[in-house]
Amino acid sequence: MALEFRAVTKVFPTNAGTPLTAVSGVSFRVDEGEFVSVVGPSGCGKSTILSMTAGLYQPSEGEVLVSGTRVDGPNAHVGFMLQKDLLLPWRTIISNIEFGLESRGVPRAERRARAIAELRHCHLDGFETQYPYQLSGGMRQRAALARTLAIDPEIILLDEPFSALDAQTKLLLQNSFAKTIAEAGKTTLLITHDLAEAVLMSDRILVLSERPGTIIAEIKVDLPHRNEPIKRRVLPEVSDYAAQLFKHLKLEEKAA
């Protein structure tokens, strides 16, 4: 079991005085090597799930386990990526990729070697000495993925990493991410509001309700080509899955 949420509830204190329950009684498991997406309306606590997995804050109730150990702080098993690439603008691409290794006592030469290997995996050869501003948005996200993979995490958390990109770049990047992640054999949790993206990239989809977020449905995506969303995209079943998600999120009622 790579990741497990056991009856997790998270309550935030607010300035107004009434505490805000972001997620309530969330339980799910993610197997090793599995790609699971979490979809839900905005403000349903998707990112709260991610932050608790990363150990940035603790659940108010219940517990989060990564590889069987309780998460009680930031730890080396989890790598996360956001919509923002969070590359350090004052560092070159290669030294950005090394960033996560620096606080782990990895010797300089090994850091560089691992960073170069990840640079290759993410198809960024030749961009080592460039600065982030010299790269396009899609390339920057790939550099961020390389940085995430460089620490060799057991779980990769992706918080809407494609949402700031144009449609074409998005598709190419989804494909390249899916491939790279499948090759690395990493367990992945993708937070997204893009229903098609969830269907194209996942083994399983968890649907969250509106705040306080609870899991209202779990959909197993029984389609081939998980590591090639571009191929999966043309399968006719994709729209059925999307329609299912649509229904669970009651989007039609809301539109009416």
Binding site: L56, P74, A76, P89, F99, H123, Y131, S136, L172
Partner: protein, 282 residues
């Protein structure tokens, strides 16, 4: 966005070039034009300065002409120890700037790391920031006497605040997600400071230093005007007492030069240090 956006996100993306490869071209012409216009304007002002006062019968002790000033400059250099006065002012400007900005930056970073102390101290910082610092000069002279301490203190005080405020402001607005990323990578508090906060705040620190450099000259000048017998500020008050307007003019020009040199040096350093920021074309 830079021109890099144009590159495809595909695997075979071509290398992005550092700068657009058009040396010369319309931009060069444009720069030449502005330089010529700038110099032309300077020549015009200098000519007006030389001939207008005499033409309008303005006496020399009100507005000396350009040549009056140049003759006076030579006289000051030969008989009034102008070099020593100028060097003294330059030295104290630099010293006050260095001490003041070091203190301002240090306190800015310390307060930036402690929300509690920032809240406790911020009303007093605001009050001190609003208080006219140059007005402290007579007090400092009463306390420390007619030596170089008062002018140094005024300079330090005047330089201190813009640096402090800029650093503090920048520390407050460091990207929380970057800090979370560093935390997720298990960086220590000190590690987060050196690897995230310090570099993130560098642009604001540099902006603060630039403002401070122009104020440093004011601090020293006021210090020298109020007390003491060295420096360009002293020459201003001496020249003013003797109705020697040319002397005052010269001292002002030299003070401006000192400030300008310091400012340009900082701009140079800033360009070096912040080379990773995309430059606005212009």
């Amino acid at each position: 966005m830079t021109d890099a956006t144009a590159t495809q996100a595909g695997a075979k993306a071509p290398a992005v070039t550092r700068k657009p490869a058009n040396p010369g071209g319309p931009r060069m012409d444009h720069r030449l034009k502005t330089t010529v216009a700038s110099l032309g304007l300077l020549a015009l002002v200098l000519l007006a300065w030389q001939y207008l006062p005499t033409a309008l019968d303005v006496p020399k002790y009100i507005i000396p002409t350009l040549t009056d000033c140049l003759f006076e400059l030579k006289r000051m250099w030969l008989y009034d120890g102008l070099t020593a006065h100028t060097l003294s002012t330059a030295l104290y400007t630099l010293l006050g700037f260095a001490i003041g900005s070091l203190l301002g930056a240090t306190l800015g970073y310390l307060l930036g790391m402690s929300a509690f102390w920032e809240k406790v101290l911020s009303p007093y910082i605001l009050a001190l920031q609003i208080a006219p610092k140059v007005a402290f000069a007579p007090l400092f002279i009463m306390w420390f006497g007619y030596n170089s301490v008062p002018k140094l203190l005024v300079t330090v005080l005047i330089v201190f605040f813009p640096v402090l405020v800029n650093v503090l402001q920048a520390m407050r607005t460091v990207d929380r997600d970057l800090i979370n990323l560093a935390r997720a990578y298990s960086l220590s508090r000190l590690g987060i400071f050196w690897k995230i906060e310090m570099p993130s705040t560098l642009p604001n620190l540099m902006a603060g230093l630039r403002i401070a450099s122009t104020l440093a000259v004011i601090g020293v000048t006021v210090g020298e005007l109020v007390g003491g017998n060295t420096g360009l500020g002293y020459l201003i008050s001496y020249g003013g007492g003797q109705a020697n307007a040319a002397m005052v003019f010269n001292a002002i020009v030299l003070l401006t030069v000192i400030g300008f040199v310091l400012y340009s040096a900082l701009v140079r350093i800033e360009d070096r240090v912040l080379h990773y920021l995309p430059k606005a074309h212009g």
